[in-house]
């Protein structure tokens, strides 16, 4: 965000009241957007923090309890489970989908036969609703009847309850999300690759550098800003993406696939405990703010040195 105010030179020509008039105009233009931003972002953030210090009574009223909600959260095994699951979910999806995205981008950036088709194939999952994706993949994972078990059956193996077993459910969801996200990240790499100067690779080729060496020492380092950008988006996504849980697992079995946002949804709308949901949301807000700080720290660096 380079902030050279383009309009600055114009200002001195007008009288003193001009600055005041400018401000009035600007705030009038901002007003509609800000009313909504305050109503659905800024106020809710503050209200979440306030409600996190309350407790929902059985009759729906709320009482101030200070840090009590936080203490019960610290003692809530499902909260910790959701947090740990979220960590594994992020670790399982992010590196693999970024690696695949980079590979895909390198392929579809070449003059390969059928490049248009490959691009289409990789990117299509991105535009599908997660709910539709969950429906399709649910079938693959259905015990006995599903595609995966039919393949196993062909090898004489017995059926497996993929989504019903705590040891496999997370892996299944991770594979599906990688399928959904890799093509999206590919687009950012593709954009970055197209901005790289071909001279560098040509020079490396003239020098007799191997393709792998060129990639490792030239292309990949140059793509580092893209990788960081994609990684940050992927982290935010890993906290937001829970649609499929509603269809596929409802967080189960035994909370083996519960993620933080899904737990918040359950606490608030199934258990009707909006005060505790607020406490949980504060944790999510802290996590996202940390990501934001990293992001803006990194973006600032990029602005200064590039």
């Amino acid at each position: 965000m380079t902030d050279q105010a383009v309009t600055a030179p114009v200002a001195p020509r007008r009288p003193r009241s001009h600055a005041w008039w400018n401000a009035v105009n600007a705030w009038l233009l901002l007003l509609p957007a800000f009313v909504l931003l305050i109503a659905f972002t800024h106020y809710p953030i503050l209200a979440t923090i306030r409600h996190s210090f309350f407790l929902t009574r059985r009759n729906g009223t709320e009482v101030f309890v200070g840090s009590e909600s936080y203490q019960s959260m610290a003692a809530d095994p499902i909260f910790w489970k959701a947090l740990v699951n979220n960590f594994w979910f992020a670790l399982g999806t992010i590196p693999t989908s970024i690696t695949l995205a980079l590979l895909m981008a390198i392929w579809v950036n070449r003059n390969m036969r059928g490049r248009g088709f490959l691009r289409l194939a990789f990117f299509t999952p991105t535009v599908l609703p997660m709910i539709a994706v969950a429906n399709i993949w649910l079938f693959f994972y259905t015990p006995d009847y599903g595609l995966l078990d039919q393949l196993r059956g062909a090898f004489g193996l017995a059926g497996w309850n993929w989504l019903g077993d705590p040891s496999t459910v997370m892996g299944c969801l991770i594979v599906m999300v990688i399928w959904k996200e890799a093509g999206f990240f590919m687009i950012f790499y593709l954009a970055a690759l197209q901005q790289l100067s071909p001279d560098l690779e040509e020079a490396a080729a003239v020098e007799g550098a191997s393709r792998w060496y060129t990639f490792r020492r030239i292309t990949f380092p140059l793509l580092m800003p893209t990788t960081l950008f994609v990684a940050i988006n992927a982290v935010i996504n890993s906290f937001k993406l829970v649609d499929h849980l509603v269809i596929m697992t409802k967080g189960g079995p035994n909370n083996a696939s519960t993620l933080l946002l899904y737990y918040i949804y359950e606490v608030a709308f199934t258990f009707q405990d909006s005060a505790y949901a607020a406490t949980l949301t504060v944790v999510l807000l802290i996590l996202l703010s940390t990501v934001a700080l990293i992001k803006f720290g990194y973006l600032d660096r990029r602005i200064h040195y590039q």
Binding site: V6, A33, L36, F40, I45, I131, N135, A277, A278, S289
Partner: protein
């Protein structure tokens, strides 16, 4: 780009592409064949549209389509108007507090309405809008992403054009409409595609604020329809799934290049 592709790489690329298309191909296969062939893939399987007809009968998909289209249109128009005005304020005017105001906008890039479901539900309840289409749209009408994207574009508008318009006596809003908006057309197209696909696909928030056929969008309708306890068979569920994603898929196939480019543009900062 340069460089021959190694045959092994080409094969790997194609295998991955086929693997990536397989779930979709399966969905279409199952939707277009009788239930008996949902899991047995034989070339002689008869084709049928029966599953679509039955899905359409068993749930009010017509209504869901209408709701989704209304929703997406409301959001798109709201976002375009509000983002244009706000982006113009940031790009064109120097005023005290603009830095803080912009930071307050950017905050929404990290903490999206998707995360604030509990308090936003409360807010919608206070406004008396629960179970309406505007309730789904409202939290998304002010889009930080749209404001950011348009501000960047507006900043690149040549100052000579603005000066020329001013000399001819155009006011701030006329300058916006006659100079800035036309020059930002590619950005509008890019943002529009991203926004439409996001809100066509959105699920959790609409699930929370709607509970009747009159306001439910396609995604929530599909989830209600496909719930295991409803006892509908796979072929019909896949048919409903295909119906839900078909409009976007068709749009994507028709405007593939623009789609990919718009996502590229959308991501570059």
């Amino acid at each position: 780009m340069n460089g021959r592709t190694h045959p092994i790489e080409a094969i790997a690329a194609w295998l991955l592409a086929l693997l990536w298309l397989a779930p979709l191909v399966y969905a279409f296969w199952s939707a277009l064949h009788p239930a008996a062939y949902a899991t047995s893939f034989s070339l002689s399987a008869p084709w049928t549209l029966e599953n679509f007809a039955r899905a359409w009968q068993q749930a009010p998909f017509g209504r869901y389509y209408l709701n989704t289209i209304v929703l997406v249109v409301i959001i798109l128009i709201g976002q375009l108007v509000l983002s244009t005005l706000a982006a113009y304020a940031f790009a064109r005017f120097t005023f005290r507090g603009s830095g803080i105001a912009f930071a307050l906008v950017l905050l929404q890039l990290m903490i999206m309405p998707d995360v604030l479901i509990v308090e936003n539900y409360r807010m919608i309840g206070k406004l008396g809008l629960l179970d309406t289409i505007p309730a789904i749209a409202l939290p998304y009408l002010a889009s930080a992403f749209g404001i950011f994207l348009l501000r960047q574009t507006f900043k690149s508008v040549p100052q000579e054009l603005v000066e020329a318009a001013r000399v001819e006596g155009a006011g701030p809003l006329q300058i916006l409409w006659k100079v800035y908006v036309p020059l930002a057309r590619p950005t509008y197209v890019a943002f529009g595609l991203v926004s439409v696909s996001y809100h066509w696909n959105n699920f959790l928030w609409p699930l929370i604020v709607t509970n009747s056929v009159e306001s439910r969008p396609l995604t929530v309708g599909l989830a209600v329809f496909g719930a295991p306890e409803t006892g509908v068979d796979w072929s019909i569920i896949t048919a409903a799934t295909v119906m839900t994603m078909a409009p976007l898929l068709i749009a994507f196939l028709l405007f593939q290049r623009q789609f990919v480019q718009s996502f590229m543009r959308a991501g570059i900062r």
